[in-house]
Symmetry: C2
Subunit: 219 residues, 2 copies
DNA sequence: GTCAAGATTTTTGTATACATGACGGGCATT
DNA sequence: AATGCCCGTCATGTATACAAAAATCTTGAC
């Protein structure tokens, strides 16, 4: 699959939005940025439109493109949607998961535990992501899988913060175990419930999220 | 909100794809169609990219834009996803729905029943859509609402066929009643279950869907 | 008659030029 | 001094021109 220039530009812009180079409300000047990327306005505008579709920028007619970071309400809604969609994937996966996938989940979990032991948040994060993506995949529904992956990607920057919470990794491991048990038992209801609880933002996680939000938006 | 030309073109193309003017695999010639719409290639390409993001068109680099109708597998997956997302919306709505929304749902249902009495499928269809959109809205989650509306829109052409099934409208009414009861009772589980069952493609509905699919793709 | 390689043509991707609508500053009026 | 209007400047939206890649056609050899 050949890569258009607009694709690479979109990725670069996305990266800059995620890492905070551009923050909420910033206008993305077409001529200046196109020049900076070494392309003309045409492919750059293509990239902007793609980002607009993912919701990262807002395209106001005749006024330009503006960075659109999710606010507190939007973020909470996205986390809730993530929890519900993961629950759905888990429900379906409980009825459809393959033995290979179950083994892969177990493998991811083992490596997660190892990462916890080594105080290695990055390793934990990588394997945790694999764990979840396997469940999306095993829903056996590519539409849901795509949606789940997309939401997962957008929440990535905020999710990462959650792991910093004291004792969060250990608790998360216990929840993974419960999820795995439900999937092995082929219990759709239990799989859905445990996954929803695992992903949902509640209690201390909520305050933590709000705190990081403040830090991001106030800079 | 000002409308770009690319927007109107995208809508027109979408319409033509839905109504079968263009069918699966057709190439959308940039110069010919842009001329036909009376615009240059630039806004027309914008429209193509938008359609590509909705999944109606596939943009193959260096080869062009091709109409991408969902195949049987994809359609079944989309209907399943719709059923699951509606179930989620129902679950949340059962906990959050307002009295006004409940009244609106009842109103939609009454008008549905009237339409059934008058043998008026169009009227039924309109009110049925309103019924479902209210439930999406009352999930209290705008992300889910957007996703649900989008899926609903894409499945519209296929859903319409389902209503032609003998006795389908009457059965559907009974299901609406059960959904309404669950929402009134504030029972999340019942709301989710009844909605999932209502939307899911199963039994005769499945064969009917396959039949319409054949008719569409073989023309 | 078939297949292959080169030339031609068509078409996509990108750059640039042009036109129209938006924002801001300055001036006049109250 | 404040407000409203007008004009200049600039950015966006669109058209057109150019370049590169793919598809097609032609021609020649086996």
């Amino acid at each position: 699959m050949e890569q258009r220039r607009a694709d690479t530009i979109a990725e670069a812009l996305e990266e800059r939005i995620f890492d905070g180079t551009y923050s909420d409300g910033d206008r993305l000047d077409e001529v200046r940025l196109a020049e900076q990327f070494g392309v003309s306005r045409t492919p750059f505008r293509e990239a902007l439109q793609r980002l607009a579709r993912s919701g990262l920028v807002e395209l106001v007619p005749r006024r330009g493109a503006f960075v659109r970071q999710p606010g507190p309400v939007e973020l909470i809604e996205m986390f809730e949607a993530m929890a519900e969609i993961e629950a759905v994937c888990g429900r379906l996966a409980a009825m459809r998961i393959s033995d290979e996938a179950l083994a892969a989940l177990q493998d991811a979990n083992v490596k997660c535990e190892a990462a916890v032991g080594c105080q290695n948040p990055d390793g934990y994060y990588t394997e945790n992501e694999r764990f979840h993506r396997i469940i999306y995949e095993q829903s056996g529904n590519s539409y849901l899988t795509t949606e789940a992956n997309e939401l997962h990607r957008r929440l990535k920057p905020f999710r990462r913060q959650q792991l910093r919470l004291r004792g969060r990794m250990a608790q998360s491991m216990a929840e993974h175990k419960a999820i795995l048990d439900a999937l092995e038992a082929g219990d759709p209801v239990a799989a859905a419930e445990t996954l929803r609880g695992h992903v949902a933002i509640q209690g201390e996680k909520f305050h933590s999220l709000m705190a990081t939000l403040k830090r991001v938006t106030e800079v």
